[in-house]
Symmetry: C2
Subunit: 361 residues, 2 copies
């Protein structure tokens, strides 16, 4: 049988510490060439939202194979993307245009022993968990062992995951969080205080969030930089979930910079009409890849497998940039989640025959 | 609701002439830049078959967006690949190791208006149909209008599709077919004679199949060339479903050569251990891309959109090479099949909510 599970099912069975453990195994194997991840591929054409806004339709895929867990995974997204300006910053916002006002992202998990599809699930919980755990592992290798204060920009679903991960790898005692939407910010602070059992305080400016912080983090949907170089005091660890959150000046100020992966590339195949209207073209330093930064970058696979050292002194300024995701991450968290969901009897069982065939493909 | 349909359902609703019609629209749009196809991506690691043979596990994806039909499609394969030598030729054979001795390949169809998953189905019938229809369109533009004799190598599932396509685009009166397995060959000839209503004759050698043929075709699983340059008499049209079926000498003998696509590339990300053991490395001329051939190639998009002319005289030797598939093809045949399967009430309806989510992915 092939298991169909929901984000809620997955959240029940895959806590953050478990995700961190399987992903640490994964990055070790990846660093040593025993796990394989393909490029992220976006196929993009012009479209419009149900209420007539200009949008791009994007079909995104990423795949990876994790032999240790005997699985391969494909993560895919079927997105209507818009770029509204909110609070003075250009955002990347996907429109929930599917029936019921929903988004569409999926993970498909396969057995490398039989080829069969083991599990099909929405990508949301696994997606957030792998992003959070990657930045959590970045903090495990790079933040000061005694880091206790977190400053955070962003109060969305990803921001929640980032805090869960930081609190798992470091003895965090207090969080200050800023969002341009004060109501969101208060709600987030209140909910996360309860969940984490430590003070999470909503503050009125980004600078106020960052004062005294040992970990300076962003988890936003911005397309313009939000983290500032001047917030990086000696000893601080910085953390971002996308390249657009930081400028090159900030990265140049760091003593040690790790990216999620240096191997994978992102590939866009864009219809000419959509290409002309694409506001995501200009990535600045990310496109230019300045040698003074690139030649000293390491990645999470190198850190996890011991090929690159982590923090070397209390005063270093370190940074972890979740530059691009890997399909491989979904193989690791997917395999563990599948095993746990099966054991817990969650989800819907569908005949595997519906997703396999009698003819040589 | 999201529709799950079988290969048998799809075969009932998507006949070859219909597939040729929607794919001709597709290639016109593709040639004019209004339809988009991403690269084919293979992620490969070492594995083994259930009975202990050395194998590769490969997770393959290809995606495309066809705005005219308001759909995007992803085709994926989860394969255990082996390379046995049969009848003196190296073959690429996928092992049916999924429960019930089955293979795993899937097509997922999405709406570009809402992002929602419209249909999930095995890839087999759509895969064969799009391969056959591409070569069929190649014959429509390149074979002599009065072509009536077909010589065919191969008697598998793909060979059947090729004959259906040739007989749809040209007034074929007789087929001669060769396979090293004489029993397969007789069975195939007998079944196809009935199905097509014309003589399909099993013959004892490749040369016997090709004598007098107006269309010289291969539809095999070989990794070594099987079509020979000397079979290309003036006026003949040649047709192959993969680059390994022909040598460069054959293509140099042709006056006009079209490839399926010149835009798409195939990308392998292979684990180091698997890389060393990969017998599919040496593609010869396909890797070298000799300029004397490459500079005169055209593709099906150019032929369909009138940017490149088809056959110009009765004596030309022409060739159509289905060099690599495109995810985009699955969007076109998938959209039509979905519409017809819905109208016919076929398949299983699953809640679309199982494959969508309430969180921003």
């Amino acid at each position: 049988m092939t298991l169909v599970v929901s984000n809620e099912d997955l959240e029940r069975v895959l806590p953050m510490d478990d995700a961190l453990a399987v992903l640490e195994d994964l990055y070790r194997d990846y660093g040593e060439g025993r796990a394989v991840s393909g490029p992220r591929v976006d196929v993009v054409a012009a479209s419009s939202t149900p209420d007539g806004q200009r949008a791009h339709y994007g079909l995104k895929t990423m795949a990876g194979v994790f032999p240790r867990a005997e699985v391969g995974a494909i993560r895919l997204n079927s997105d209507l993307v818009t770029w509204p300006v909110q609070d003075g910053l250009k955002r990347r916002v996907k429109v929930p245009a599917a029936p019921g006002g929903r988004w569409c992202g999926l993970v498909l998990l396969f057995s490398t022993r039989t080829g069969e599809p083991l599990m099909i699930c929405p990508d949301g919980y696994l997606q957030r968990t792998r992003v959070a755990a990657a930045n959590g592992l970045g903090a495990r290798y790079l933040a000061r062992p005694d880091a206790k204060y977190v400053g955070l920009l962003g109060t969305g679903w990803q921001a929640e995951g980032q805090l869960l991960a930081f609190c798992t790898v470091r003895p965090i005692e207090r969080v200050r969080v800023y969002s341009p939407n004060a109501d969101h910010c208060e709600t987030f602070a209140s909910q996360m205080s309860k969940r984490l059992g430590i003070p999470v305080q909503a503050v009125g400016s980004p600078a106020a969030a960052m004062a005294d912080a040992d970990i300076v983090a962003a988890a936003t949907n911005t397309l313009d930089p939000v983290l500032r170089a001047e917030w990086l005091r000696p000893g601080v660890h910085g953390s971002a979930i996308k390249v657009q959150e930081v400028g090159i000046d900030l990265l140049r100020r760091c003593d040690r910079v790790a990216f999620h992966t240096l191997k994978n590339v992102k590939q866009h195949t864009v219809a000419p009409e959509a290409e002309q209207a694409n506001p995501e073209q200009e990535h600045g330093w990310w496109q230019e890849r300045p040698a003074d930064l690139w030649e000293r970058l390491v990645d999470l696979g190198q850190l996890a497998s011991g090929q690159a050292p982590g923090r070397a002194s209390p005063d270093e300024i370190t940074f972890f940039m979740n530059n691009i995701g890997m399909g491989l991450q979904f193989a690791a968290v997917g395999a563990r989640a599948y095993e746990r969901a099966r054991a817990a009897g969650l989800g819907h069982d569908l005949p595997t025959d519906w997703f396999t065939e009698t003819v040589h493909p």
